[in-house]
């Protein structure tokens, strides 16, 4: 088992390296850099440019050096915990990112739990009652969630929540808590606001999960051992719980790898619409203003988050399923 985990972690390293290179290439692609456009903007407004600071930043982050040197600076800096400097905010990236990343992780985890809670019973019901009206109705509902663009659902939910519950529009907490330290009241306020984004983001992943769980369970239900169990007189509920469901469960854990990118993507755009203090709005702004280190770090964080999520799901899958543990191979 330890060997499996170790090997799995080791294969992650080259993947992450390639991702970091890709991210760096993407944020370097636009012509010019932030400092140039910043200077031009300041001069056009007739303000003076702090030559010393510009020169310092240029020197510090090696903006005038060749591409590969810049990349290595960035990479080594990241490994040491220095994510670069946000020109837009005039702060180190780590300070800007701060608890925004934490909130993104929190929303993602809650959304996945929400998706599971919805998809699991529906998937089982659909598989055991194949081609019934309930199956069709619930599947259709799931598809509707898949087909509705997240951002629009978010807008409508915001409006409805405001009209019917009087929850303040947007944000993740009531205004008075934004700068307050974490406390129980703040947590409650966050939870009150959190359910809207969680439900909105969750709807898009649920349909896929229901469909995959249903297909997997249907495959299992046709197998010989289920027929044997039924012939021996096991009650249907117990039969389902003891055998096919457990096998379908494996796949349920493995599916987190499929779910996580969807959830994080959804979280970004919903965050922009609802102006949540997560990574979404800042990433968008950073991309638009060429604040390269900030944008790059965010992209990198999101990718790392996904890679780690998949790692966690792979390891728990290996714990659950001896076939994977012993062969040391994933059957995806």
């Amino acid at each position: 088992m330890l060997e499996y985990i170790l090997r799995r972690v080791l294969t992650m390293i080259p993947t992450l390296l390639v991702i970091s290179l890709l991210v760096f290439v993407i944020i370097q692609l636009p012509p010019g850099d932030y400092l140039e456009s910043h200077i031009a903007e300041l001069q056009s407004q007739g303000e003076s440019v702090d030559e010393q600071k510009i020169a310092f930043l240029r020197e510090e982050y090696g903006l005038d050096r060749p591409f590969h040197e810049q990349y290595f600076f960035w990479l080594i800096g990241m490994l040491q915990g220095d994510f670069g400097y946000s020109f837009e905010y005039d702060l180190p990236v780590a300070d800007v990112v701060g608890d925004k990343l934490f909130l993104t992780v929190m929303i993602s985890v809650l959304t996945i739990i929400f998706t599971w809670m919805i998809a699991f019973p529906i998937g089982i019901y659909s598989a055991t009652h194949q081609y019934s009206w309930g199956d069709y109705g619930l599947s259709f509902l799931g598809f509707l969630g898949l087909a509705t663009p997240n951002f629009l659902l978010a807008l409508v939910m915001l409006y409805l929540a405001n009209v019917h519950f009087g929850t303040s529009i947007g944000g993740l907490m009531a205004p008075e808590y934004i700068d307050a330290p974490w406390s129980l009241d703040k947590l409650i306020s966050v939870l009150e606001h959190l359910w809207i984004p969680v439900v909105v983001i969750g709807t898009s992943g649920t349909a896929g999960m229901i469909r995959r769980l249903r297909a997997n369970l249907l495959d299992e239900l046709q197998k010989q051992y289920v027929v044997t169990g039924r012939a021996k007189g096991l009650p249907p509920g117990k039969l389902l719980r003891k055998y096919p469901l457990r096998i379908a469960l494996n796949f349920f854990v493995a599916d987190i790898g499929n779910l996580l990118p969807t959830v994080i993507s959804g979280a970004e755009i919903v965050a922009v619409v609802m102006s949540l203090p997560t990574t979404g709005p800042i990433l968008l702004a950073a991309l638009q203003s060429q604040d390269m280190y900030l944008a790059g770090s965010f992209l990198m964080f999101l990718a790392v988050l996904t890679v780690f999520g998949v790692l966690v799901s792979d390891i728990s899958l290996a714990l659950l399923d001896p076939r994977i543990r012993l062969q040391g191979d994933l059957t995806k």
Binding site: V23, I26, L146, I269, L284, L287, T306
Partner: protein, 386 residues
């Protein structure tokens, strides 16, 4: 008679015709002799929902060819007297008498409390709609001028079935034109990613070894990115001074670049198992080149599956374009897509005061549902021998 008194073993020397024993009914014969594609078609036809969705898709794609004629107004016509006009309803009966489709004329007043424009109906002013008529002039596909429409507003009247936007442009017409961009982006995108997927997956599956390993790693890297942030980053890279058409193609390529991984995986795993088959070895021994073996002998075996899964991945692209345009990173006006239209519905005031600006979401949902159900039907039909 031999010595045990048994009849001698008898074999007829007549040529044997199996059909004389096993009589096939005409239906059976038709079934057994049908080609794979014909069987697929029969199986698909039995899937009622998929057929309905297929027809919806065909109608929508057909409408793309004649957007100018179907839309009651020109894409850019501004009705400055009717800004933020709510949808007008079409009536058939006036005072209990059948007149045919008509709308009521409307007045204009400004609600000073909400600063909202109201357009109360004049219940005595009956304005029948015109059909197969001449209305706003347009450039048909930018080629020649025309003014023929299926439906036109009444003379000196208006016909805003889905209301107007902040410049007084008809929302229904804009949705009709928007379909042209939103629907084609999915098709062009899937064509690109299909090509990528088949070539890369084919190479990986056929050659194995380091080619396979490289492609596999590339797929892994791309799949471990959350799609939307990467799309956002890539579209932010597109130069601002590009023309809208170039941006359109840029966005399509970006959407396609991240989408080929699923197809490549499917192609690869199928090829890995198929290339060990005897017919493949035979082709190789006869001196066929790899491209011929892949293209002629291996791919046709699971082409139907590929088409089905491609159909299922078009919705993601349409949604992706909508999301990007909504965020202002995708297509830009004057190119009109459903996402660009939804960009106007970005704040909560719109939801509260002008909810009809959210109508473009209806075709988005409809098309995505249709693609999903149609793709499901195709996938079930893809293996007609099961």
């Amino acid at each position: 008679m031999n010595r045990q008194g048994r009849i001698e073993h008898y074999v007829s020397s007549e040529p044997f015709d199996p059909l004389s024993i096993e009589q096939l009914t005409p239906e059976q014969e038709k079934y057994y002799l049908a080609s794979q594609w014909k069987l697929m078609w029969w199986k698909l036809k039995r899937h009622r929902l998929a057929v309905i969705c297929g027809i919806i898709l065909a109608l929508n794609y057909g409408s793309v060819l004649f957007s100018e004629i179907i839309a009651p107004y020109n894409l850019h016509t501004r009705n400055i007297d009717y800004i933020y006009s709510p949808p007008q309803s079409v009536h058939l009966f006036h005072n209990g008498k059948f007149i045919g489709p008509f709308v009521y004329g409307r007045d204009y007043e400004l609600d000073m409390d909400l600063l909202k424009r109201n357009y109360p109906e004049r219940k005595d002013d009956v304005q029948p709609l015109r059909f197969f008529c001449s209305g706003d002039s347009y450039q048909f596909w930018g080629l020649f001028e025309g003014n023929f429409h299926l439906v036109c507003p009444p003379d000196n009247g208006t016909f805003f079935l889905l209301g107007t936007d902040r410049l007084g442009r008809d929302v229904l017409s804009r949705i009709t034109y928007g379909a042209r961009i939103s629907l084609t982006i999915g098709i062009i995108g899937i064509a690109i990613s299909f090509t990528f997927g088949i070539i890369l997956g084919g190479l990986a599956g056929y050659y194995g070894g380091w080619v396979d390993a490289t492609v596999q790693r590339a797929i892994e890297v791309i799949r471990s990115f959350p799609e939307l942030p990467l799309w956002m980053a890539l579209s932010a890279v597109l130069p601002v001074n590009w023309s809208p058409i170039l941006i359109f193609f840029g966005i399509t390529v970006i959407l396609a670049m991240l989408d080929w991984t699923g197809l490549a995986r499917a192609v690869r795993s199928k090829l890995l198992s198929l290339r060990e088959e005897d017919f493949c070895t035979a082709a190789e021994l006869m001196g066929a080149r790899p491209s011929r073996i892949i293209g002629r002998h291996l791919l046709p075996g699971f082409m139907s599956h590929l088409i089905a899964s491609a159909t299922l991945s078009i919705p993601a692209m349409i949604l992706g374009e909508t999301a990007l345009s909504f965020l202002g990173l995708g297509l830009r006006p004057p190119v009109t897509s459903w996402g660009v239209l939804l960009n106007e519905a970005q704040n909560i005031n719109v939801v509260a005061l002008y909810p009809w600006l959210m109508f473009p979401v209806v075709p988005v949902i409809l098309i995505i549902l249709a693609f999903n159900f149609f793709g499901d039907g195709l996938r079930d039909a893809a293996d007609p021998y099961k």
